[in-house]
């Protein structure tokens, strides 16, 4: 944090909004396709502000998400911390990717997240695996196509750096 930061409040607000969206009620079958908003928001900021948002912020968001969802403590934290690390070591290359290629990459990250969730729930004996649990991998990738331009616009508007 040596260089002067600006507009970091927007990062906090966007992450809080993502957390809220991930527990807001969705009716019936749509709930299966709920995109992983927290992952998307974290990936955006990890790519945009790699020197500020890192493993710790991701881990913290994961812990809060665990508490909110009432799932095994640590499952989201672990997955998101690993994902943050993956992005941190490769953000320079990822930034060069086209939007669609990024979306595909994010789908794979979400797939990893889901697998970690299932594994964590299985070893704690609460899982009920249905193939639909993998649907968010698709929806998360799709949403990235729209989310990156929108959040990018806001980032320029509030001059977040």
């Amino acid at each position: 944090m040596e260089s002067h930061a600006h507009g970091l409040w927007f990062v906090v607000v966007s992450l809080l909004a993502a957390l809220l969206l991930s527990i807001s009620p969705l009716s019936g079958d749509w709930a299966w396709a709920r995109p992983d908003f927290v992952l998307l928001m974290l990936v955006y900021w990890l790519l945009a502000l790699p020197e500020r948002i890192g493993v710790f912020v991701s881990w913290l968001c994961g812990i809060v998400l665990d508490i909110l969802q009432g799932v095994v403590l640590g499952q989201n934290a672990f997955a998101l911390a690993v994902i943050a690390y993956i992005i941190q070591v490769s953000y320079q290359r990822l930034r060069m990717f086209s939007l669609r290629k990024q979306a595909a990459f994010i789908s794979f990250l979400e797939l990893f997240h889901i697998l970690v969730d299932q594994w964590a729930q299985n070893i704690n004996g609460v899982a009920h695996t249905h193939w639909l649990v993998f649907l968010p991998a698709l929806s998360t990738g799709l949403l990235w196509l729209f989310l990156r331009p929108i959040v990018g616009w806001f980032q320029r508007l509030f001059a977040v750096y």
């Binding site: 957390l19 809220l20 991930s22 527990i23 807001s24 009620p25 969705l26 079958d29 709930a31 299966w32 709920r34 890192g54 493993v55 710790f56 881990w59 994961g62 812990i63 809060v64 508490i67 909110l68 969802q69 009432g70 799932v71 095994v72 403590l73 640590g74 499952q75 934290a77 672990f78 911390a81 690993v82 943050a84 690390y85 941190q88 070591v89 964590a120 070893i123 704690n124 004996g125 609460v126 899982a127 009920h128 695996t129 249905h130 639909l132 649990v133």
Partner: protein, 267 residues
């Protein structure tokens, strides 16, 4: 960077592996769930606003219709109550004759559902009563029509209810027609329970009412749990496949009741 991953990833991994296995994790979770309260409050704002708004704009005719319906309902319930009082007196007399312990009335506390689990795989509710209101882990939860589930996690202001249809849930039931005992397991489908290990020769029929048996000591006996909707007997299988529909409106209840059953003390 790698060091941070080792540190935080390691902590998270340890938490996953510990899970619920160590006793000190339960109070930690209780403390942590305080973090969740403001989030749930915010998420619930739209439905509260809509509720208040519809209160304001509901027309006079609707209110009158509502009023009339409630009056009729109250009349019917009062009529039933008269019979109930009589039956209760008779029940107490009979129990005295049989020298068995009298079952005391269960007291209930009304709680409001503030959130449902965001993962459709998990049948859970969050209600707005916590340890401050006396809620405890394992407390039975019912609604107006039947048994809903039990509390699995208590925070100061909120608690988490595991529904009877969650695939991790099972409860002992009894067929009210003939007293046959069985275990009703959640299937992961919101409108279905499965009765396990029911012998193929058992007397169980479609339409039978399942009530909680009180065995297992978690749920008080006598609450309606479900209605048998399908009995399929395959001669090649040792057990019949019995499916039931939960009585409680698991995906519709906005208000639920936490049951405080007064177990009759030993003396």
């Amino acid at each position: 960077m790698g060091g941070r991953l080792l540190l935080f990833g390691g902590v998270a991994l340890a938490l996953i592996l510990i899970g619920q296995r160590l006793d000190f994790m339960a109070p930690v979770r209780t403390q942590l769930s305080l973090v969740a309260a403001p989030f749930y409050w915010v998420v619930d704002v739209p439905s509260r606003v809509v509720g208040q708004f519809s209160d304001v704009i509901s027309s006079r005719r609707e209110l009158m219709a509502d009023n009339e319906r409630l009056r009729a309902e109250s009349l019917i319930l009062n009529a039933k109550l008269q019979k109930y009082i009589e039956l209760r007196a008779e029940n107490v007399r009979l129990r005295e004759l049989m020298n068995s312990a009298e079952r005391l009335n269960d007291t209930v506390v009304v709680a409001e559902v503030v959130a449902v689990a965001s993962d459709p795989n998990r049948h859970q509710l969050v209600v707005d009563k916590g340890s401050r209101d006396g809620a405890f882990v394992g407390q039975p939860v019912i609604d107006a029509t039947g048994l809903l589930g039990q509390i699995t996690e208590v925070g100061l202001l909120q608690s988490r209810v595991l529904l009877i249809t969650d695939s991790a849930h099972a409860l002992p039931v009894r067929v009210s027609r003939n007293g046959l005992r069985a275990i009703a397991e959640g299937t992961g489908l919101i409108d279905e329970l499965a009765l396990t290990h029911v012998a193929a020769t058992t007397d169980i029929q479609v339409g039978d009412l399942l009530v909680s048996s009180g065995l297992g000591g978690r749920f008080p006996g006598g609450y309606p749990v479900g209605e048998v909707i399908e009995v399929s007997i395959d001669p090649g299988q040792p057990f019949a496949e019995v499916r039931a529909r939960p009585m409680a409106k698991l995906d519709r209840s906005r208000n639920v009741l936490l049951v405080f059953s007064e177990q009759k003390s030993e003396e």
